[in-house]
Symmetry: C2
Subunit: 164 residues, 2 copies
DNA sequence: CCGGAATATTTGAACATTCAACCATCTTAT
DNA sequence: ATAAGATGGTTGAATGTTCAAATATTCCGG
């Protein structure tokens, strides 16, 4: 991104092939990018500090906690939280070492593996969810009007849907 | 996060000390979280594939490209892109190996170091910005109405401002 | 039933990021 | 002046993530 001087217009400019961003779009985009990053950093830091698990770990455990029988297949989990399969494997290993989770071969599909939340794991997420929810309330929801927050949620759902 | 059954009300519920999320908030929050993640993953992947640099690297170079004299102090850069100083140091090392950037001791402040964008670096960002902007247009802006996008940008700016 | 393609997961090495300790310089108060 | 602390930046080890290759199982056409 460069500052092309004297381009304060409010319509997209086509320079050859790439539709550039208007100044307003540029600003909105960066506000989004940095805001999103700052928020994630903060939520992760607080969770880490106050309950000893990362946001990524929390998301996995939290998905498990809501799933029927508190178990889910590796790939389903990966898709759900938007992490690579490999990453879920590694993270699951760490969670397993803490006895928050255990592996179980999948009944019907011999290739599959299910990750099962243990009692200790359930207790851990429960604990963490308190911290997490508080953070979301304080740092995100509390900063916005109800309409804004709803719009943001909606918008990002659309964005996700648009990503093939 | 758990599914506490039979709790479909639309007002925040106080369970002891933590204001829980309403179902609608819960959904909005997850839409945001996953959407944001998916978007970042995609933009990063496209940038990586089509111009050989990560989004994090791009952000650094891009900030430099806009700064007066195309140079910036390490810490200013770190604050700008919301990365740890250590991370910026390491990333700068990699960028330096590619000759996209070089280091220069700071004139007034003997502790400081300025990162300077090289000609090759400038060419590289210029190239990458094309890919990046196209991605933002297509995956974010193109999916939303102008109002929605503006609201999102605004909202995230507020969020950031609220983070002390 | 067989073989090849597709799917699910794991593995380990390469790479990136965090974390805590460290060194140097600047600032302030005495 | 000088010592104490704050600030700016780097270092290397520990940790986490990605990437490509490997393994195992299922699916499908013949």
């Amino acid at each position: 991104m460069f500052k092309y001087s004297g381009r304060g217009v409010s319509l997209p400019v086509m320079t050859g092939e790439t539709p550039w961003l208007t100044d307003a779009q540029q600003i909105a985009w960066r506000n989004y990018l940095r805001g999103a990053r700052a928020l994630e950093v903060r939520l992760d830091a607080e969770l880490q500090a106050r309950s000893g698990m990362s946001l990524a770990e929390y998301e996995l455990l939290s998905m498990l906690s809501e799933a029927p029988s508190r178990r889910m297949r590796m790939s389903a989990l990966a898709d759900m939280v938007i992490q690579s399969r490999s990453r879920v494997t590694h993270t699951a290993n760490r969670l397993q070492e803490r006895d928050w989770v255990r592996r179980q071969p999948c009944a019907n599909d011999g290739r599959g593996v299910e990750l099962v939340l243990t009692a200790a794991g359930l207790a851990a997420v429960k604990d963490a969810s308190d911290v997490h929810v508080r953070g979301v309330q304080e740092h995100l929801i509390g900063q916005l009007s109800a309409e804004e927050f709803a719009t943001v949620g909606n918008a990002m759902a659309k964005v996700r849907a648009g990503l093939t």
